[in-house]
Symmetry: C2
Subunit: 504 residues, 2 copies
């Protein structure tokens, strides 16, 4: 038995033993319960699952103060951010409840029997069904919005899939407390036992991805850990989809006109974005392109000045603090890269680290120097004209976001680089900053590898539900055998495509 | 250099050398041309791509007689079937042209800036973009509908993705001739060079899946070959989606009432379905459950009698003929399995094989005996009550289809097994036969592993386009930077979700 211990990152001291590492027998039982829950959970129907999501949201809200206090003790992210994160999480449950009531996510199709140019067509009715039990890996940096509750869990439950969460070791107490709230919500809504479970420990995580009952995996974390789990999922006798978010440098381009017009404002925007939450956002702009010459230098100088005065940030765990230090040192020593500014040194208590700003010419941007360094660090790269910028952007690994700060004078410049940004990222932000990911129908939080392991899907927003659904067609089925949504006269109407025409 | 030779399966004799195996340099050039074509192909817009698809359909139609004659010489599938297949393929191009003009496949979303319970939301606009160059592996059994032209190629081109096809070695001349038609259609529609390419040879196929320019793979073929390519795709430095259809036994259940009422009719339906095209359909019902006892025996006896009188079928290639013989012998020797009937023995010319019917009790159905045997063979399994049937169905590997032949008296029986059929297959057919896959919005041609490598998608029907698209979000983008479909006043209206509401 190995203790799962809750540690305070502000002091580095262990606070309590929360649980034990999940044994293989316990893991098998949790997966078995999830498999057994799949049919009754789907059987709740859309209305029943909407009630479930709302009951879980209410249970989290009812325990808000304790959950936020625990999360703050385990992450040092502060009560303001964490209260906001809980509100976001509650909103996600409620937005998905609305979406499954509306029902368009089913992609329902009714093709009546008839003739076609290739011959007679039988009666075909198609909609999406839950894929089955889903494994979710909690993220270190969002203890409430991407952990036991949060994006992957809500999307899977909304789809009708039981969830087994592998808790992140940096916030086990928060994970257990949130699990209790979700379990209470599930019980109140009449959901089956096994609708949600939590497991602990790295070996349990790997075994979870291997378990025959698990049909898909949602993961947010490091490139190394994510790649290992991806390979396990792909190497199964029956490979399953692995939706991972593994790392993103999120290039931000300051256009020449904007740099010339408002260097100080841009420097402050970049500084706030890359140091928010001690730089521990998946959408942190870690690579900032500025024009070479006076205007760009003004942005860089203002940024360096601001960074030099910043206090050390508290990172989420010892491992993240150490990884940040090593990554920052490696980057600073890369050919052509130099240290521009460093914030106040840490005082030696807890998992603290100084803010760092590096500088380089765009030519020094490579797949290596453009790798994500998780924590409060950004590299400013000076580009000499659009060709230099384009060549550098083409070397940047796939990212969740790409940002352009531009003025009216930059319209042509932006139009020139936008196609390249589309290729390299999943979201393009104009005159804003990438940290802050709205939960909305219009969001995409994904992108080319390694930003996401599967570029087809988002992990934030309503359309993230598609990851946990699979299509099913009934051919010539009697009305009584069909799901309500596909019957000639459904009890609850949903948007459908009937004989080729979309009907809302 | 290794010759790519066209062989006549009716004689087993080589007819002509069609091409040489594609060299690594040629492969790299084809992939490079595809990558270069991606932006201009997307740039044609939906209207331009609809024109492209219709021009390709017209070019295939204009060359119908030669294409069908070549395909018949290389596959022995017969002109009736092959003319139907060409019509099907032409219809696919035209149906996808209509679908991209309609535009709902873009899943366009407009979220205007506004307040939400989690705070202010920026302006977010989301739609699907082409994923990039796609590799398509031609199938042996559909030289026109799943080969150089066909489902995967049409879906990828409709999405806006250039296609590099690995031609199937059993019909290289047909592949080259179809490629010429597609290239002529592309030229006529003003599509870029590199929109479609064909490569030959097993090594070229593996290298294609590894090539950095390729962003997704569509494959139809054997479990062994498909698994190897799947593993290459998953093992890349940047893994890419691999959409494979690897094998399916397609269980068919004859319910007790139906068996008692119409044994002869059912036997004829099953016989026609499992021997159609010499049993070389991915949806061939290879495993037929009948009730133990008199009614089921009547079905089995009628089936055995019909099979005994059938002529030998000509298979597509020497490898398929040999694989069928070995697989059939292995199955016949499995514990509890016996030979019920065998059709006329082949006369020794060409790649012929006798039709075979095997019998067993449902208890003898295992993952091994329920593995697909590609060719004219079916195993009839007698079940003793619903529990025996359910236990056997639970051991059947994932399939594309599951069929129930039932009468009114069987309503309760069917309702009892339907949830299990949903779990095991992607399409449920009531009182019909699984061979014959309509190209329609409502089709699903996919299912749990190994029927499909990715249970989320269909490879037939309009929604198969989703495999080759990825989402992109623009945040706070000026109107001029947005694709037309996301502008406030689009030139060509498409269905969109605006501020949460679906608008057709």
């Amino acid at each position: 038995m190995t203790d799962i211990v809750s540690v305070d990152p502000r002091t580095g001291a262990p606070v309590e033993t929360v649980a034990q590492e999940t044994t293989p027998e316990e893991l098998d039982a949790a997966c078995g319960a999830a498999a057994a829950a799949a049919a009754p959970l789907a059987g709740l129907g859309r209305a029943g699952r909407a009630r479930l999501l709302r009951a879980m949201a209410a249970a989290l809200e009812a325990d808000r103060d304790t959950i936020v206090a625990l999360a703050d003790r385990e992450t040092a992210l502060g009560p303001t951010r964490l209260n906001g994160e809980l509100t976001r999480t509650r909103y996600q449950f409620e937005l998905f409840a609305d979406a499954i009531e509306e029902g368009s996510y089913l992609e329902a199709v009714v093709d009546h029997a008839g003739d076609t140019p290739m011959g007679p067509r039988p009666d075909l009715r198609r909609m999406l069904l839950p894929i089955g039990p889903v494994a979710v890996f909690g993220a270190s940096n969002f203890p409430l919005a991407f952990s036991v509750p949060g994006g992957d869990t809500v999307a899977a439950l909304a789809a009708g899939c039981p969830v087994v969460v592998k808790a992140h070791p940096a916030h086990p107490a928060t994970s257990q407390r949130c699990f209790a709230a979700l379990a209470a919500g599930a019980a109140e809504a009449g959901a089956p036992e096994g609708t949600v479970a939590v497991v602990h420990g790295q070996e349990a995580g790997a075994a979870l991805v291997r378990h025959p009952a698990i049909r898909a995996v949602g993961f947010t974390g490091s490139l190394r850990g994510g790649r290992a789990l991806h390979d396990i999922a792909a190497g199964r006798p029956d490979p399953i989809p692995f939706y991972g978010e593994l790392g993103s440098v999120n290039p931000l381009v300051v256009a020449p006109g904007a740099a010339a017009a408002r260097a100080a404002e841009i420097a402050e925007g970049v500084r706030a974005s890359f140091t928010m939450g001690a730089g521990q956002f998946c959408t942190k702009p870690g690579l900032v392109f500025v024009p070479a010459g006076e205007a760009g230098r003004a942005v860089t100088d203002a940024l360096a000045e601001a960074v030099a005065g910043m206090p050390a940030g508290t990172l989420l765990s010892e491992g993240i603090r150490d990884g940040f230090g090593a990554g920052a040192d490696r980057l600073a020593a890369a050919p052509g890269v130099r240290l521009l500014a460093e914030g106040t040194a840490p005082d030696g208590t807890g998992w603290n680290a100084p803010v760092r700003l590096l500088g380089a010419d765009a030519a020094a941007v490579t797949a290596e120097t453009a790798e994500e360094c998780f924590g409060p660090l950004a590299l400013v790269a000076a580009y000499t004209g659009e060709d230099d910028l384009r060549a550098a952007l083409a070397r940047v690994p796939g990212s969740l976001t790409a940002t352009v700060i531009a003025d009216d004078a930059d319209t042509e410049f932006v139009a020139g680089i936008e196609p390249l940004l589309r290729e390299r990222a999943g979201r393009i932000i104009c005159n804003g900053y990438p940290t802050g990911v709205a939960v909305a129908w219009g969001m995409n939080h994904g992108g080319p590898w390694p930003a996401a392991t599967n570029v087809l899907h988002t992990s934030v927003g309503v359309t993230s539900i598609r990851r946990f659904l699979r299509p099913m067609t009934w051919q010539n089925a009697p009305q009584g055998l069909l799901p309500d949504e596909l019957r000639d006269t459904p009890a609850a109407r949903v948007p459908r495509r009937v004989d080729g025409r979309l009907e809302v």
